[in-house]
Symmetry: C2
Subunit: 136 residues, 2 copies
């Protein structure tokens, strides 16, 4: 029923104290069947929906940042004003719908690169992302 222990261990492993706020946020983010694309605003609404325990907006920002640093979340590239995050941390790509502003995952093996440039001297490739902008 309640397997908070897994989250507690995961948090401890990353040097994050397992506070009730972090566990609650982790449950909301990671106990999902599908990957979740969200902004902080959206996550805040999910967490602080009527009747539930309240978590401050500052903590939601802090936690999203901490989870991103710990590698549990991935920040998504868009040109929009808000930051988007993704619970799918595997290397993958996105459709970005210019009309609806919705993001859809593209599985890694749906995109194949046959040529990738050499990075500038002294630099290493950290990550490669393809964004396909779509519209009607």
């Amino acid at each position: 029923m309640n397997n908070n222990q897994a989250f507690i261990d995961k948090l401890r492993t990353s040097g994050l104290r397992p506070t009730k706020q972090r566990i609650l946020i982790a449950k909301n983010l990671f106990e999902r069947s599908k990957t979740f694309h969200f902004t902080v605003e959206k996550l805040n609404k999910v967490i602080n929906k009527k009747g539930s325990a309240k978590v401050s907006l500052a903590t939601i920002y802090n936690t999203v940042e901490a989870f991103t640093k710990a590698g549990y979340l991935k920040e998504i590239l868009t040109s929009k004003s808000k930051s988007y995050y993704d619970t799918n941390i595997k290397s993958h790509h996105h459709f970005y719908d210019e009309g609806t502003k919705e993001l859809t995952d593209i599985d890694y093996n749906q995109v194949k690169l046959s040529k990738v440039p050499v990075p500038p001297k002294g630099k290493k490739i950290k990550n490669l992302e393809v964004i396909i902008r779509i519209q009607k």
Copy 2:
């Protein structure tokens, strides 16, 4: 020496009145040997450097937006808070240096995709961009 006429014609063609502000901004953006990656803040500094005619920040925002809509500039995808623009409007890709936050163009033919996903029903691909994040 002074070939403003080319800019005047270009602006008129796009339905933009050739005001002195727009011409000045166009000269600063497009009379360059290399492509120019910039934020509005950076462009504002370039335009309003000491001793030059002043253009309001609002006009710089308006003009960058108008030039982007007209297809003279390309907005670049990064997850950072500021919007980045590029005078290179040809289809191309970017290195984004996480340390220095600098963008570098990658020529279109330096990247080859051998597999691209089909867009969702009813949607067309408008643009495909590869961002390669690099770090030391």
